[in-house]
Symmetry: C2
Subunit: 227 residues, 2 copies
């Protein structure tokens, strides 16, 4: 069953059948429990990871031990590609937000894929563009002095392509991403609910009024107060 799942991974689509059969044999599968780490910042890297099921968070742990959430990993995504491609230590730690099933492909096989299958290299380049845009976006967001604005902007970015966010992160996780306290995130979200801008439905956050969300992000920025 797991091998079948590996063959459906987006990165490997377009490979001719014999190659797909060959490469799928090199994968190692493992489960990881909630709150356990897949890898730590600074580790040497030998494998590219693919998330088959569950949910992971990429975190950076600073000198003083504070966590900065960099992004989330959803099923079908691969991760840990930086170290596999540039031979440097893992740039961040990865922790399971829920129990997860992971497939790992050895570095040597990743390199041979990149070198012999232009489609894979091209797809990885496009994916890295996407990640780079996200990281840059979030970096600019961290430059916004008002914490409410940062929360509003984060939601508006997450809901850019559709009017809702599935698997909306916990208040604690949002706090880590936008560099504020959990309490501030709760107050900011509470305000959006009161104003009828958003609605929560289980793990889904629905943006009912995107224009108002945008306006509130600007208003709080201009008011200039540091929340």
């Amino acid at each position: 069953m797991s091998i079948t799942q590996v063959k459906t991974l987006p990165l490997l689509q377009g490979l001719i059948q014999p190659l797909l059969d060959e490469y799928s044999r090199y994968f190692r599968m493992f489960r990881i429990e909630k709150k356990h780490f897949v890898c730590h910042k600074g580790d040497e890297a030998n494998e590219l990871f693919f998330l088959l099921s569950g949910r992971l968070m990429v975190v950076d742990i600073s000198l003083e031990g504070r966590q900065t959430g960099l992004n989330f990993i959803a099923p079908g995504d691969y991760f840990g590609e930086l170290s596999v491609l540039d031979d440097l230590p893992r740039p961040a730690s990865i922790v399971a937000v829920s129990e997860s099933l992971i497939a790992a492909l050895p570095k040597s096989k990743v390199n041979s894929l990149v070198n012999h299958v232009p489609k894979v290299a091209e797809r990885m380049l496009k994916d890295m563009c996407h990640r780079m845009r996200m990281v840059t976006d979030l970096r600019c967001l961290l430059g916004v002095p008002n914490a409410y604005s940062r929360v509003f902007l984060l939601i508006s970015r997450m809901a850019k392509n559709q009017p809702y966010v599935d698997h909306f992160p916990s208040h604690q996780q949002v706090a880590i991403m936008v560099n504020t306290s959990r309490e501030t995130v709760s107050r900011a979200l509470g305000l959006l609910v009161t104003e009828g801008v958003i609605e929560k439905e289980g793990m889904r956050l629905i943006v009912k009024n995107p224009a108002a969300l945008h306006q509130m992000a600007s208003d709080f920025m201009i008011s200039g107060s540091k929340v």
Copy 2:
């Protein structure tokens, strides 16, 4: 002379001579004056750029018109690859810090290079890894609440591989990068000079005591004061 310069660009190294001759013909050269923009955030992209001489800064301009400096571009670097690879608008603006000479390669030629020359795709992937690490690094830095600490950490990151930073950016540019005021940057640098931690020699900043720099970054972080 410019065509000769194009042939020495790092991204094109390893191309067989006939390919190098062919591709070098597709480049368009242009000069850009200090403080003028090479491209603007949101522009459609048709070309990959290479900086032949001069110096550029990548900036993001936020909703309220505030600039965030993302990074600098030095001669030999290529830039603007995101939009060329993923067909989305330019994610940031690029401004000349000094008069610059630029070579531009049309998008269609970039795509054919990536698809037919595995070495170019591999090099671009590695370069993107490097850029991703830098952006992530700077993003974590912006999460540090103390502005002096952010200035100290930025210098310590810039001087990671050697004990000096050539072309150290202006105080205004540093202020943009670490999200503070020019005055705060001047005070932070003044403190480092007084303490004998750094020395300025024209455009070069020499880190005389890296351990003290690191210690001061931690001390200001722990003191917790928001400068």
